[in-house]
C-alpha cells in the first residue's frame, strides 16, 4: 500500500496577535495569535516552500503526479500547480491538477496522490491556504496561513503507510463563497455542527477504524481537524478517545490553515512518532475524511529541513494595520513611482528554470558558480561551457545591503541584499521576513520563493532572501 515517503511544511514568519485585532476593532479577543502570509506570499508560494522541503532527498525525477490543494488559488484560471511544480523543479512529464473549492481539498489531495502513487512513480500532494476572513468575523481571528506537502510512493522508502481510509460526502450548506468574493459566508453554526460534522466525522472514524481493524485504544496519536472545534470535542467524547493522544490543533500559535491544516498537523505529529505507531487523522469540511497511518522503521531516517516546531518559534509580529494593507483590505495611497510592469510570457518561458527554480550556471572551465545563468563566464570569459547549478537550497551571507524607501512595495521599506553563497556565486535580490534596522553585513540568509507583485492580473513569482529560519 502506498504511503508517505517524505514531507515538508511551511508556516509564514509573521504572526498577528488576536488581541491586536480586538484592540483596533473593539471585538472580543481570542487567545494567542495566527500566522499571516507576508505581503509577498500566497497559497502557491507557500506550497512551493513546503514542497521544496518535502522533496529534499527525494527522487524528484520520479515524481509523476502533482496535486495542489487550496481554497485560495492565486489564479482562477491557469494551472496553479504548474507554478508549484516549476519552483520545485518537478519533471515536465507529470500529471498535475489544482484541487480547490473547499478546504477539504487538502486531504483529498493526499488520498488521490496515494492512489496515483500506487500505480508506480511518486506523487506530490501540496496543500496550502491563505485564510482570509472579513474584519470582525470569526475566521479573521481563527484562520491561519500555512502549507504542507507530502511525497507519496510505495516500497521501502515509505515512512508512514496508509492502512485504511474512509470518506463521506453529503450536500449541505455551511460555508460558501462566490468566485468574485473575497470573504465567505456561513450558515448558523449549530446546523452544520449537529446535522453534518459530528455525524459525518463519527461515521468516517468508525469506518476507517473498522477497515484498519484497530480499536481507538491502539492509536498512538489522533489528529482531528474541524473548522468548528466543537465537532472534534464531541467526537472525542462520543468515541471515548484518549484526550492525551490528541494532537495540538495549533489554534493558539498558527490558526486553522484551511486546506493545509490536516496535513500541517500530520507533519507536526510525525517526528515524535515511533515505528509501529498508528495515527488516526480525520477532518471535516463539506464532508469527512479519515485515514489510519502506520509509522514504519524508515521514519527514523527522515527529518524535515524545517520542522513545524521550529517554524512556530521562528516568527516576527505584524501589526493589524499592516495586515490590512498586505491583504489590500485597507487601500493605501501609492508612491509617486510607476506601477510594476507585468512580466512577459516569452521571456518567462525561456528562463523557466532560472525564474522558478533559481537554477544558475557554473563554468566548467574555471568552476565559478554564477546567477542568473550566464553565456560567457564572468570570471574567465570562457563562452559556452556552462552547466546548470542550483542555488535554491544554498545559504549565503550578506555582503552589503540597501534599505529602499522609495521603491513600490506593500511593505516599505524594501530591503535589498547582495548575497554571497556558500560555495560561490553572488546575487543582488530583495530580502523578506526581516526587520530593516537589524540587517547587517555578514548575516546568514536562505532563499525563499515569493510573489514579488501582481500587475495586470499576472502574479510575478521569483526568489528572495530571508534571514535563516
Amino acid at each position: 500500500m502506498a504511503g508517505i515517503i517524505s514531507y515538508g511544511s511551511y508556516i509564514p514568519y509573521r504572526r498577528l496577535k488576536r488581541a491586536a485585532i480586538a484592540e483596533v476593532l473593539g471585538v472580543p479577543a481570542g487567545k494567542g495569535e495566527r500566522s499571516v502570509a507576508s505581503f509577498d506570499e500566497d497559497s502557491v508560494s507557500m506550497a512551493a516552500e513546503a514542497a521544496r522541503d518535502a522533496l529534499r532527498g527525494a527522487a524528484v525525477d520520479k515524481v509523476r503526479t502533482l496535486l495542489f490543494a487550496t481554497s485560495t488559488p492565486p489564479y482562477a484560471e491557469k494551472l496553479n500547480a504548474a507554478i508549484v511544480g516549476a519552483a520545485a523543479q518537478l519533471p515536465a512529464e507529470s500529471r498535475a491538477a489544482d484541487l480547490t473549492g473547499s478546504v477539504r481539498a487538502g486531504l483529498s489531495a493526499l488520498l488521490q496522490a496515494a492512489d496515483a502513487a500506487s500505480g508506480g512513480g511518486l506523487a506530490l500532494a501540496a496543500m496550502s491556504d491563505c485564510r482570509l476572513g472579513a474584519p470582525e468575523g470569526r475566521l479573521e481571528q481563527a484562520g491561519g496561513d500555512g502549507a504542507a506537502a507530502f511525497v507519496m510512493g510505495t516500497g521501502d522508502g515509505v515512512i508512514a503507510e496508509i492502512v485504511a481510509s474512509a470518506s463521506f460526502t453529503r450536500e449541505f450548506l455551511d460555508t460558501w463563497r462566490m468566485p468574485e468574493e473575497r470573504f465567505g459566508h456561513s450558515w448558523e453554526e449549530r446546523f452544520a455542527l449537529t446535522q453534518a460534522y459530528v455525524p459525518l466525522l463519527g461515521k468516517a472514524i468508525q469506518s476507517v477504524l473498522e477497515k484498519a481493524g484497530t480499536a481507538p485504544a491502539a492509536l498512538a496519536r489522533v489528529i482531528l481537524d474541524s473548522p468548528n472545534p466543537r465537532a472534534a470535542e464531541e467526537i472525542v467524547r462520543g468515541l471515548k478517545l484518549d484526550p492525551a493522544k490528541l494532537a495540538d490543533t495549533l489554534a493558539l500559535t498558527v490558526g486553522q490553515t484551511g486546506a493545509a491544516h490536516a496535513g500541517l498537523l500530520l507533519t507536526a505529529a510525525l517526528p515524535s512518532l515511533k515505528p509501529g505507531d498508528l495515527v488516526l487523522m480525520a477532518a471535516v469540511a463539506d464532508g469527512a475524511d479519515a485515514i489510519v497511518l502506520r509509522v514504519t522503521p524508515a521514519a527514523a531516517k527522515f527529518r524535515p529541513a524545517h520542522s513545524v516546531g521550529r517554524m512556530i518559534e521562528s516568527k516576527g509580529a505584524v501589526s493589524y494595520g499592516n495586515y490590512l494593507k498586505w491583504r489590500q483590505i485597507l487601500p493605501t495611497e501609492p508612491p509617486r513611482r510607476p506601477d510594476p510592469e507585468r512580466p512577459a510570457a516569452p521571456p518567462m518561458m525561456r528562463s523557466e528554470k532560472w525564474k522558478f527554480g533559481l537554477i544558475g550556471s557554473r563554468c566548467t572551465a574555471c568552476g565559478t558558480p554564477q546567477l542568473p545563468p550566464q553565456l560567457v563566464c564572468v570570471k574567465c570569459q570562457t563562452r559556452g561551457k556552462m552547466e546548470p547549478y542550483a542555488f535554491a537550497d544554498r545559504t549565503g551571507r550578506i555582503a552589503t545591503y540597501a534599505v529602499d524607501r522609495l521603491a513600490y512595495s506593500l511593505n516599505p521599506p524594501t530591503v535589498n541584499a547582495v548575497v554571497d553563497y556558500e560555495g560561490g556565486g553572488r546575487f543582488l535580490c530583495e530580502m523578506t521576513d526581516c526587520e530593516p534596522d537589524r540587517v547587517a553585513i555578514g548575516d546568514e540568509v536562505e532563499m525563499t520563493f515569493r510573489r514579488l507583485f501582481t500587475a495586470d492580473g499576472v502574479h510575478n513569482y521569483f526568489w528572495k532572501a530571508r534571514p535563516k529560519r
Binding site: 508612491p335 509617486r336 513611482r337 510607476p338 510594476p340 510592469e341 507585468r342 512580466p343 512577459a344 516569452p346 521571456p347 518567462m348 525561456r350 528562463s351 532560472w354 525564474k355 565559478t368 554564477q370 546567477l371 542568473p372 550566464q374 564572468v378 570570471k379 555582503a399 552589503t400 545591503y401 540597501a402 534599505v403 529602499d404 524607501r405 522609495l406 521603491a407 513600490y408 521599506p413 524594501t414 535589498n416 547582495v418 554571497d420 560561490g424 556565486g425 553572488r426 546575487f427 543582488l428 535580490c429 530583495e430 530593516p436 553585513i441 514579488l452 510575478n460 513569482y461 521569483f462
Partner: protein
Amino acid sequence: MASKGIRDRVAIVGMGCTKFGEHWDKGADDLLVDAAYQAYESAGIGPEDVDAYWLGTMGSGISGLTLSEPLKIQYKPVTRVENMCATGSEALRQACYAVACGAFDVAMAIGVEKLKDSGFSGLVMANPPNDGTPASMTPPALFSLLAPAYFKKYGLDPDKGKDVLSRIAWKNHRNGARNPKAQFQKEVPLEAIKNSPKIADPLGIMDCSGVSDGSAAAIVVRAEDAHKYCKNPIYIKALSFVAGPAEGPLSQAYDFTSFPEVVASARDAYAQAGITNAREQISLAEVHDCFTPTELVLYEDLGFSPRGTAWQDVMEGFFDLEGRLPVNPDGGLKSFGHPIGASGLRMMYEMWLQLRGQAAQRQIKDPKLGLTHNLGGQPGRCVSFVSVVGNSVG
C-alpha cells in the same frame, strides 16, 4: 590595448547651458533651442555653420528628429545617443571624434532631459519586456549599497560615515549657491543635510542629486581651426569611455567600495593626457555625484585620494572650492541638478567657464587642467566616462 586618444586635436569653441531646475513652463524643445543658440552665439556662428550634430537624451525623445525638428536643421546628420546617465558625455565624445577624423569641420554635441513631466519621484527608466526577475531597485538604493561596504571596510562607524557623506553634499550646495544656473542656489546647513528624511538608509533626500530639466551644448572643431572661432578655446586632452562586464552583482570579488569601470576609464584617460599624478596635476574636477557615497568612492577611483583615505580628504576640505583640488565647483549633480542627457555637457560647461576665467565668484585661481567624470548604471554594473581638458596645447 588602451585607446590611442586625440590629445590636443579637438577644441571646444563655444558652449551653452540653460539654467537647470523645474522648468514647468518649458519642454525639451524649448531647452534644446535655448542651449543650441547659446552655443552658436558663444562660438560666433549660426546653424548654417554646423555640419553635424550629436544629441544625447535618455528618454526625452528618440532619433535625431528630437533635435532637428525644433531647431529646423536643414537636412544634416543628427545622431541621437544614449548611454544612461553618461549620455551627454557620450554625445560630446562622438562629436569630437567626428571632427578629429576630418569627416566634418564643425560639430555640435547637445544633451537634454525633461524629467519633471513624469509625475514620479526620482528617476524612472523604461525596461524592455522581461521575465520579472531583475531587481527593481531605485537609483538611491543601488548607490546606497556603497555606504555600509565602505564604512565597514575602512572602519568608519555609521555616524562618522554619515558626517562624511553630509559634508560632500554641504560642499556641493555651497558651490551651487555661487552659481546662477544651478537648480539649488542655497547653502544648506550640515545638520539639515544630516537629518533630512531617509530615502535609502543611510542616504537622506539631501544625499541625492536634484531631479531637474535642462540642456547644455558644445561646438567642437579641430584644434588648428579653433582660433577662427574663439580667442581662448579649451582643448580635449583625453576622452575615455568604458562599459563594464557587470561583474559586481555576479562576483564575490567585487566589494562595493569602488567602480572598476571608473578606474579603467581614468587609467585610459590619464594615459591619453599624459597625467601621472592626478591628485597633483588636475586643477579641478566635475564628477558624477549622483549620490554622496558615489562622490566619496570616485575620489579614490579617480586617483585623487589613496584608497581608504578620501573620507579624510573630505573632512579636511581638500575638495572644497578653496581646497587643493576643487571638485564640483559648479555645485555638481547635487546642487546644479541632474537632467540626465545634459549632465555630461553641463560638467564640460563648468570647465569652459573655469579654464577661461569666466566662473565669477566660483573662479578657481589659474587652473590648467580640468577633469569631467560621468557615469551611468549602478555600483559594479556601469558605464564610465572620463575626460581631461586644458586651456593650452601641449
